[in-house]
Symmetry: C2
Subunit: 262 residues, 2 copies
């Protein structure tokens, strides 16, 4: 069943964890969960006793195109049935208590899920109903609990956001994007020699206009300008622009100077 | 203005980044953003030209109690006005192009924001309108762009989820929760001596009932049982239960044995 045409061309990415929604109440939330799963590269969705039955058109409307995840979702009578073919099951639980069980952060859980799927084993993550969360019997069926570190003064997280954080950590656990890069369009990063050319150009014009006429202060002033321009990566295109700016500012001054002396 | 009583008792946590929503369209999303901010310990919200004006009752209804963040939000005519008192501004942008700018991951950005606020400087994060995202002039006002690593086949992220990921990473950047811990209620983790006591108890009963009668296989069988019980942490309470289980199973066998021989 597809609620709208043109859903994203989603497919399973490798061996990935199953998201298991236990007794979800609102179909809109199931759709929003599918969207969050797609963001993080998850595909397999199982529903245990959805309150309003299944399928529900409203789920597809709130999935923003993650239709294929909903199309492929399965429905189960109980948690046992939803996890029977899996080797590891984690349960999300914001406030665990009176229970002896390993507790993982979302990041720690994602790393373990990557290790488990990497060995070809099946795994799943239980998410409880919107209001009550998982009950004690649900949690007793899990290897470990996952508890997100979040502001203890405000832990209330909606279902789709809980899935979003887990899906994001799942994706990040196998992502190698450097924390900071300079995006440079077509232009290359200028090397130190190209930067030196510009600083010489600037210094020459500043010498000519008299800005650096104080011989005692001149070395420090040049050094301060250098510090500013050496601070980070500059592209060759940006250097060309800076050369132009200096040339044009100096030219304006020269023309004005000529006018003044004429 | 407070849309409902009993909102969470939220207050700023230290020097934290300002979330700046640029031309947000739906007031519901502004409320959901406030909720996500509260989850991650963010407090300061600024709105640039909200489409439907401000305040909007619907925002408070979707904030799930994060009222104080909305109460304290300020409204600005343009991005310049919203960032004038800040020292660093990052802009979220899912698909940057034709632009020369550092690009950070959410995690890399959160680490830099922590370093900036730790020096007592002010910083903010720009989030664009729901449909179009930030325009080129908005992005030109930022030090760096933040781009979340996510499934390239499905990048569509709603506004509150974009804020959720950033708020979560902000919180995580200063969180020391170990990735895995055993939660043990009141009971303590058993030490190796206590575990040994149980294994001896089990072995003695298995010797008595004849399960280990094959002298040649006995050492390996005991070792395999030991491997199972030594695998992870066991609490003292769990060991007491296991002692009871073995005693009772053996007792049942003894009584039955007595009946059979009588």
């Amino acid at each position: 069943m597809t609620g709208r045409d043109g859903g994203a061309d989603l497919a399973p990415i490798g061996n990935s964890p199953v998201v298991i929604l236990v007794r979800p109440q609102l179909a809109e939330n199931v759709g929003a969960v599918a969207r969050a799963m797609a963001n993080g590269g998850l595909f397999h969705l199982r529903l245990v006793k959805p309150r309003d039955g299944w399928p529900q058109e409203r789920a597809w409307r709130s999935a923003s195109g993650a239709d294929r995840i909903l199309d492929a979702a399965s429905v189960h009578e109980d948690v046992d049935g939803a996890v029977a073919d899996l080797h590891h099951v984690f349960a999300t639980c914001p406030r665990p208590r009176h229970i002896v069980k390993p507790v993982l952060t979302a990041r720690g859980g994602a790393a373990e899920l990557r290790a488990i799927t990497g060995r070809g084993l099946g795994c799943g993550i239980l998410f409880g109903p919107e209001r009550a969360g998982l009950d004690n019997d649900d949690m007793a069926r899990a290897d470990a609990l996952i508890r997100y570190p979040l502001n203890p003064g405000f832990m209330s997280l909606n279902l789709a956001q809980a899935v979003m954080i887990m899906a994001y950590e799942w994706w990040m656990a196998d992502d190698g994007t450097p924390p900071r890069t300079l995006m440079t369009n077509e232009s290359h990063i200028a090397n130190k020699g190209e930067l030196e050319n510009f600083i010489r150009h600037l210094t020459a014009e500043l010498d000519e206009c008299g800005f650096l006429r104080n011989e005692q202060k001149r070395p420090g002033m040049v050094r301060n300008l250098r510090h500013l321009f050496e601070r980070g990566e500059v592209t060759q295109q940006e250097l060309r622009t800076l050369h132009g700016v200096v040339t044009e500012l100096a030219l304006g001054r020269k023309i004005r100077g000529r006018d003044e002396t004429s």
